[in-house]
């Protein structure tokens, strides 16, 4: 008999990148020793550029000092993937889950993250697709609407996905996003004809798509203020 699986979802609002990273590290450590169940962080970031483990900073097209003038931060991380931008009106999901418990490898996990975003897009009549060979992420035609960058350590995931609801796309002009030079970045706002609800609604829908694709039976929603969380 299959044991019912619950997903605990923390709605965090807008969180500074480093604070979110520190929180993920703590939760991943707790998840590894089964102190917490599979947990999903749902949040947004203030304007932030991030690099992955390969440190591909040649894809940053402006000096770091200029980023500060724009009001953006830059962070180097241990996740996979290239350079990207996070900012307001971009939905971020950071799943802290045990892949070993559900028998998924990196490839299948990432495919499911792509499907989470393609399913959400289809709710708004947008035909998006993932599983492009050598170009992980979610695309509408040749325009990228969702990005993925993941870390798997001791079978526990951290980092995750970023889905463009309606971010300021000009921020992407200062990088070669994801290291892909000849493709554009897009958003749900740009691609759909429908009127969009508030971000919170879309983020909840994204979480529901995730939970369904990963076979969770129940979602336990928690609203958290990250400043109050003991780091």
């Amino acid at each position: 008999m299959r044991i019912p699986r619950n997903l605990e979802v923390w709605r965090l609002g807008t969180v500074n990148y480093l604070k979110a990273l520190k929180l993920q590290e703590k939760l991943a450590s707790d998840r590894k020793i089964n102190k917490i169940p599979d947990t999903l962080l749902s949040l947004q970031h203030p304007p932030t550029y991030t690099l992955g483990k390969r440190r591909t900073d040649y894809n940053l097209l402006v000096p770091e000092s200029e980023l500060k003038n724009m009001g953006a931060e830059l962070h180097y991380t241990q996740r996979g993937g290239d350079i990207t931008f996070h900012g307001p009106h971009q939905a971020i999901l950071y799943p802290i889950i045990s892949l070993r418990d559900i028998g998924l490898g990196a490839r299948k996990y990432v495919e499911n993250l792509e499907s989470t975003m393609t399913e959400l897009s289809s709710l708004y009549g947008v035909k998006a697709h993932g599983q492009r060979k050598c170009e992980t992420g979610v695309w509408v035609g040749d325009r990228k609407i969702g990005a993925i960058g993941v870390r798997i350590s001791a079978g526990i995931t951290s980092h995750g996905l970023a889905f463009n609801i309606d971010p300021d796309l000009t921020f992407f002009k200062h990088i070669v996003p994801c290291g892909i030079a000849d493709k554009d970045v897009t958003s749900l706002r740009t691609e759909t004809d429908l009127v969009l609800p508030d971000d919170e609604v879309i983020q909840e829908q994204l979480v529901s798509c995730f939970a369904r694709l990963f076979g969770y039976n129940d979602i336990i929603w928690k609203d958290k203020n990250v400043i109050e969380i003991d780091g």
Binding site: K53, G103, G105, I148
Partner: protein
Amino acid sequence: MALRIWASSTANALRLSSATRPHFSPLSRCFSSVLDGLKYAHSHEWVKHEGHVATIGITDHAQDHLGEVVFVELPDIGGSVTKGTGFGAVESVKATSDVNSPICGEIVEVNTNLKETPGLINSSPYEKGWMIKVKPSNPSELEALMGPKEYTKFCEEEDGGH
């Protein structure tokens, strides 16, 4: 697929038994090869112990579940590895995955070819895609690892049970 044909002909040439399932079986989930003479960890690394040196890499099952490897991070020679702890990482499909050492020991060699050709881990996980060579500090740790039959069963259960 070419990889399976290559793997089984290589296995035949080396007179190694392979637990590869027939690839025409639609119900089979385990298409990965498992080699005799190696020991295996639950986190899908293999160890080959020859004399005073143990070679470590990741299994065919692991590389298949990772996807195409585009980047490999390896430790420095002279460092040490601890059983069950990460010594490096691989990147595939925008995911970095830690690679763990099945045993404790001192690193005596690392596979620098993986810097230029990380895909060797996919194309040759048990030979050209080896990652590090270690002088085991406690050879009895190898006894605690899985043998090929046990590892094959472990993979089947992990893939099939969800």
